[in-house]
């Protein structure tokens, strides 16, 4: 009751201040009037009565002030006055305020943008019910080649996980959604199909909006063919027609019955247009690690129980591929939260970016601390006056802190706008489906982070100046006209040194990443990427399971594309340079001293003109020809890496693979490709064997086309108008129901593979440029201030015979000195910090001398110019004017 009345009073006093004031005024006046009335009634003259009444009252204003001070919320009132005063200060000094707000907007904006991604990927719960009960399984291998990450699993592991781990509801899916052909009315669409096991949607906690999900029966081999549609596919292709349920649609050339439609906005890790049954087994696809598992803890079970069950059943397997490369190693399995499993590879670069944006914030704070310090020093006379008039030091401190806070909040508000823009730009930079989340929201947590960081910056950049004003000497400051600032100079120099040091680290780090990207992009590709256009189509289609139909398609379509005017050559390959390819295990060396050795290598089926179209040099032996047919000797062409790996670099031509079965007829140069076997670098030349498309066994055709969509490639001497539509027409002339997924130049393919590196480079470079800019501004203002403060001194010196150059040298030196110290400190920091970048660098060492030299040289040049630029004003100082002004 009492509290409520108090809150009510505070609000009334603050919000209806004017009304409260006028009532007080009236009340006081009534009192005086009544006393006057009494006196008049007692026979005293009206004017005399009023005079004595007023005198007795004892000062109307004082009484009113006494009431005000006793009022509830008087503290707020004072605070409000301080804020208004602070705001007026900001307004009166627009240059300074703008600089501060702009600096903060840039630096906090960078942090806001990066943090919203961290938030979306690592902090925000997955959009599923009880996300904390969802997981995936990591494999920890201790041995000669230790590893600790998420493994794909094979059919045996999947069956054991499904049947022997009662603590979990488990589901499997194909490794990524693959392209399939969906016949919709008269035309065919290339859509993304995720192959999932039964219970997949139960693990995710998604209920189909209409219909049901895939049943256990449909998930068995040769089970009924059914499909679950995503909401957007259902709306876009089937016009949100509910009667599609239970009806067959033509998918992969076969009828599939639609059993369900997912709700709108339902997101799955596979991010597909539609879902079909995985129908996993131990053989075929399941003989290799081609599945991905997700799990959900059953009610009442614990993760410890689940892990114990997984380890018990998976360790009892007879053949364990994990030990293949690591004989005798100790293997354990454990569950990790699904979110970590999905974002595992993105975490380290993201945290590195967060660190870099933290650096930016510190640099900005150092700059602002310096600026604020100067600003405070300028206001020394004001502070001294206020102290002399009886203000307490606490009150003055409070005033300064409020001003800093106002600036920080203004900067924070501006940074949200800038952060949103930066985030938009950043997301545009990322390839589609690069992030495993549908959207990066600007939610309450991000806003709270921005607010928190704004408050933090106000403390960081306000602390030093606040400490400095504690030492204001009353008498000195009042008497001397010039502003004290001897101590502040060295403080500012240390600040500059600090930010220069951080800038060195950022510059060096982005330099290393740029070198990595340049290294990767300029790797000898092993073929001629210019003038090649590629297009992909899905052959995961019952019509092409028959080798004869498949070969006829390749033959006729390449012939038709070869007829396009301007096209020199056309070919088909299962995969292209810069892409991943199928990894084949169980390749056996057939003769020589390595006989019987088993190995795995990338395998690519190609049409005869593949090598000539891409201009991959044949180093030894011959290329494929039309003569290499279904019934002739099985032949293969290997690359140099293959020869190096298995034949110690000797010429492999004439050797046999798979027990005399396949003859190596040629050796080609290595081409840059995305790694599959040994993920040592984003682009490598992995051991690869090329086989003629004619000799791919029928059993293999269906399987590889589930995973991979072959590419058609054409080479033109010069750009051809309408090439892509002519390619589509050429394909349609052979099979009107086969759409291309899209057209890509070789450069597009490379950019896609190097997306992570490109994004890292773009972001870190932007941040280091920002750091460079901030440092330059810091040095510039330090020296410029020096010039402004010492104009009189310089005038006298010049009048006494000093040259302009000497004066410039004298004034510019502090800035240069501070930068030099910063550069050295930065190099020392680099020694420690850059080591963490080891894993993201390729083709360049962590302590790369040229990179460090360029970073230092850039920074030195910028620092020097920033220090010299303001001293140029010295030349325009006229001693006569300066002295007269004094």
């Amino acid at each position: 009751m009492k509290l409520r009345s108090r809150i009510h009073s505070v609000l009334r006093n603050l919000l209806h201040n004017q009304q409260v004031e006028s009532q007080l005024d009236e009340e006081v006046r009534a009192y005086v009037d009544m006393v006057t009335d009494e006196r008049v009634a007692a026979g005293i003259s009206p004017s005399e009565a009023r005079r004595t009444a007023l005198a007795e009252f004892g000062g109307i204003e004082q009484v009113k002030q006494a009431v005000r001070e006793d009022r509830a919320g008087a503290g707020f009132d004072l605070l409000w006055q301080d804020i208004v005063h602070g705001a007026r200060q900001l307004w009166r000094n627009p240059g300074f305020t703008l600089t501060v707000v702009f600096t903060l907007a840039l630096s906090i904006g960078a942090n806001t943008a990066i943090f919203s991604i961290v938030n979306a990927l690592m902090l925000k719960s997955l959009p599923y019910p009880h996300p904390e009960r969802m997981g995936t399984i990591y494999t920890r291998v201790n041995g000669a080649r230790p590893s600790d990450d998420r493994h794909y699993i094979n059919g045996e592991q999947w069956e054991l996980l499904r049947d022997e781990v009662p603590a979990l509801i488990s589901a499997a899916s194909g490794i990524r959604a693959s392209g399939v052909n969906l016949q919709a009315g008269s035309h065919v669409e290339y859509v993304h199909d995720a192959r999932i096991s039964a219970l997949y949607f139960d693990v995710l906690g998604i209920q189909p909006a209409i219909g049901r999900s895939i049943s256990l029966d449909e998930d068995r081999r040769h089970g009924p063919k059914v499909a679950v549609l995503s909401y957007s596919l259902w709306r876009n292709i089937f016009g949100a027609d509910t009667s599609v349920l239970g009806r067959p649609i033509l998918l992969k050339g076969e009828p599939y019955t639609v059993v369900g439609v997912l709700p709108e906005n339902a997101a799955t890790p596979s991010n597909a247009d539609l879902y079909t049954a995985l129908q996993p087994a131990r053989d075929g696809e399941g003989s290799g690690t081609n599945f991905e598992a997700i799990t959900r803890l059953r009610d009442g079970a614990t993760w410890q129980e689940a892990d114990a069950e997984i380890n018990r059943t998976w360790l009892s397997r007879a053949s364990r591929y994990e030990l293949g490369e690591n004989p005798g190693a100790q293997v354990t399995y454990y569950s990790v939260p699904l979110q970590k499993g999905l974002t595992g590879t993105l975490r380290p670069p993201l945290l590195a970016l967060m660190l870099a944006s933290g650096f930016i914030l510190m640099i900005a704070c150092a700059n602002l601390a310096g600026l604020t310090l100067v600003q405070m020093m300028r206001r020394t006379p004001e502070v001294a006056t206020r102290l002399a008039l009886g203000a307490s030091r606490w009150q003055i401190q409070q005033q300064f802190w409020i001003e800093n806070l106002l600036r920080a909040l203004l900067g924070g508000a501006a940074s949200i706008g800038l952060g949103v823009l930066a985030l938009r730009a950043l997301l545009l930079l990322l390839p589609e489906h690069f992030l495993p989340v549908a959207q990066v929201p600007l939610d309450g947590r991000v806003l709270a982070f921005t607010l928190g960081i704004s408050l933090l910056t106000s403390v960081l950049f306000g602390m030093l100046p606040a400490l400095a004003t504690r030492k204001v000497e009353l008498r000195c400051s009042m008497s001397s006209r010039t502003v004290a600032g001897v101590g502040s100079q060295s403080v500012r120099q240390s600040l500059i040194a600090g930010e220069v040091a951080l800038t060195v680290v950022l510059l060096a780090a982005s330099g290393l990443l740029i070198r990595t990207l340049v290294h990767l992009e300029t790797l000898p590709p092993g073929f001629n990427p210019d003038g090649v256009m590629t297009a992909r189509a899905s052959l995961d289609d019952i019509r092409f399971h028959d080798p004869a139909a498949f070969l006829q398609l390749l033959d006729q379509s390449t012939a038709a594309m070869g007829q396009i005017p301007g096209v020199q050559q056309a070919a088909v390959g299962l995969s292209l340079p810069y892409e991943r390819s199928v990894i084949m295990g169980g390749i056996t060396i057939g003769d020589g001293k390595e006989t019987g050795e088993k190995t795995m290598a990338d395998q690519v089926y190609v049409t005869p003109d593949y090598f000539s179209t891409l201009q991959i040099p044949i180093l030894s032996g011959r290329s494929f020809s039309e003569a290499d047919g279904q019934k002739t000797q099985h032949v293969t062409i290997v690359n140099q890496a293959f020869a190096r790996k298995f034949f110690a670099g000797t010429n492999p031509v004439g050797r046999h693979l798979n027990l005399q079965d396949t003859l190596i007829v040629g050796m080609v140069d290595d081409v840059s490709m995305a790694p599959g076997i040994d993920v040592a670098a984003p682009l490598t030349g992995e051991a690869t064997m090329y086989v003629p498309a004619t000799q791919v066994p029928a059993s293999m055709l269906a399987m590889v086309h589930v995973w991979f969509q072959p590419s058609w490639i054409v080479r033109t001497a010069r750009p051809v108008e309408g090439l892509t539509s002519q390619m589509q027409r050429a394909l349609a002339s052979v099979d009107p129901n086969l759409p291309f997924s899209g057209f890509y130049s070789m450069r597009d393919l490379m950019a896609k593979t190097l997306a992570t590196q490109r994004v890292e480079v773009a972001l870190l470079t932007a941040m280091s440029l920002l750091a460079l800019l901030l440092s330059a501004v810091g040095i510039f203002t330090l020296v410029a201030n020096n010039v402004a403060q010492k104009t009189r001194e310089i005038g006298i010196r010049i009048a006494l015979g000093s040259t302009v150059h000497q004066a410039m040298f004298e004034i510019g030196t502090p800035g240069v000195l501070a930068s030099a110290v910063g550069l050295l400190t930065g190099l020392v920091l680099c020694a420690g910090v850059l080591r963490v970048m080891h894993s993201v660098l390729y083709g360049v060492g962590v302590y790369d001398l040229p990179t460090l030299l360029i970073a230092v040289a850039t920074l030195a040049a910028v620092a020097l110019s920033a220090a010299i630029a303001p001293t140029l004003r010295i030349a325009s100082i006229d001693p006569a004017t300066t002295l007269r002004e004094e």
Partner: protein, 110 residues
């Protein structure tokens, strides 16, 4: 005016105002006069103490104010005890009686 005046003890003023308002509503001058009357002129409450106290007590929820007509037809602000104020008057009266008794005894003791 050679009446002996005593400085108002902190807290005493509140009690006196509560007591003065006990019988019914009064405006500021009325309260001042009434206190003078019930203390037989021992306590003279100056506006400088009276008004801050009235506003403070109103904010504390002990008093409620409203505008009304004074006996000679002047618009004046009247104060009246609230329920909480009445409770407060009882509590403070009891406390004061205890303190006064204790003080009297303490001063009488030899």
């Amino acid at each position: 005016m050679s009446r002996k005046q005593t400085n108002l003890l902190q807290g005493t003023l509140d009690l006196l105002i509560l007591k003065a308002l006990g019988p019914g509503e009064l405006h500021g001058l009325g309260i001042s006069r009434r206190i003078e009357q019930i203390t037989q002129g021992t306590f003279l409450v100056k506006p400088g103490s009276l008004f801050p106290a009235l506003h403070r007590m109103e904010e504390a929820g002990w008093l409620r104010s409203f505008w009304g007509e004074s006996e000679n037809n002047r618009r004046a602000k009247f104060y009246r005890l609230t329920k909480t104020g009445k409770g407060q008057l009882e509590v403070e009266t009891e406390q004061w009686t205890r303190v006064a008794l204790a003080m009297t005894q303490a001063l009488k003791a030899t």
